[in-house]
Amino acid sequence: MLVLSRKVNENIIIDGRIVVKVVRTEGNFVKLGIEAPADVPVHRQEVYDEIQRNNQAALTSGRPAAARSVAGPAHPPAGTAAAAPIIPSASSPSAPIPPAVPIVPAVPTVPVAPAAPTTRTVPIAQTKTPGGSA
């Protein structure tokens, strides 16, 4: 890992197009300003971590019980027992959905990110003393 020392208001430039500026420090916090083209995603590491943890929690074994337990006829009010799993009948086999069939009734808009560079300020916890990690 490259470790650089910077003072407040000093920058780091990555790939000639991404500017990371130390905006200020407050105790344990370093406030960073990041200026990057719109096609460069900038997120806190925690965003990846929490989605990853959520995915792991969402991993489900066995489709029918899982899907029916959320798709079931009712979401029982809190305090009542959940509906018993339904034994799938042989007459209602599930089939792979051909891509030609629109399975998403209405597609949410996927706006294209604006081309203009954006400045984002991301407070992050202060890292260890420079040179402390490899």
């Binding site: 719109a38 096609d39 460069v40 995603p41 997120h43 965003v47 990846y48 929490e50 989605i51 990853q52 943890r53 959520n54 995915n55 792991q56 929690a57 969402a58 991993l59 489900t60 074994s61 066995g62 489709r63 029918p64 899982a66 899907a67 029916r68 337990s69 959320v70 798709a71 079931g72 006829p73 009712a74 979401h75 029982p76 009010p77 809190a78 959940a82 799938p88 042989a90 209602s92 086999p93 599930s94 089939a95 792979p96 959905i97 051909p98 891509p99 629109p102 399975i103 998403v104 009734p105 209405a106 597609v107 949410p108 808009t109 996927v110 706006p111 294209v112 990110a113």
Partner: protein
């Protein structure tokens, strides 16, 4: 990377025993980067049946007992507009919104199931290549949106 000839081989996927359904190559969803935390799992099949609507089952192709319950976000929140990063749009080859299938992962927890709106899975409807994207406006969305607020008529 060798490209499988389409229609030359059918793979059988195990569902709940004893059903076995042929999975055609054109039904396989490829996620070159996997899902976050499941980077090594790149092939999925999307299954659904009418009585489970609006939920679908994103099943691991090579591990049929494992998968994710997913749902179209339009069934969950009326105004879900994740701003998909341009790099992802390019990587998926999506030209306009109609090319995209958007699915969100459901965490099944009995009566308190939730939908992850922070990490939508975006799939190119034509190529069936997908990716779990982190929207530019990810901060606007909850990780665990309660599913009890589903505006569905069951």
């Amino acid at each position: 990377m060798p490209v499988a000839k389409p229609f030359t081989r059918m793979k059988t996927v195990e569902l709940e025993a004893p059903q076995r359904l042929p999975v055609k190559p054109e039904n396989i969803i490829t996620m070159p980067l996997g899902l976050l935390g499941f980077e090594q799992v790149k092939k999925y099949v999307l299954l659904g049946s009418p009585e489970e609507e609006p939920f679908l089952w994103l099943q691991m192709l090579d591990n049929p007992s494992q998968g994710f319950v997913v749902v179209s976000p339009t069934s969950v929140v009326p105004n879900y507009t994740p701003d998909i990063p341009q790099g992802d749009v390019d990587m998926l080859g999506i030209k306009n919104a109609a090319d995209a299938i958007v699915l969100n992962i459901v965490t099944v927890r009995g009566t308190e199931s939730t939908v992850n709106l922070k990490g939508p899975i975006v799939i190119n409807r034509h190529t069936l290549v997908g990716k779990q994207c982190i929207p530019v406006n990810v901060g606007s969305f909850p990780l665990q949106h309660p599913i009890s607020s589903l505006p569905i008529a069951a």
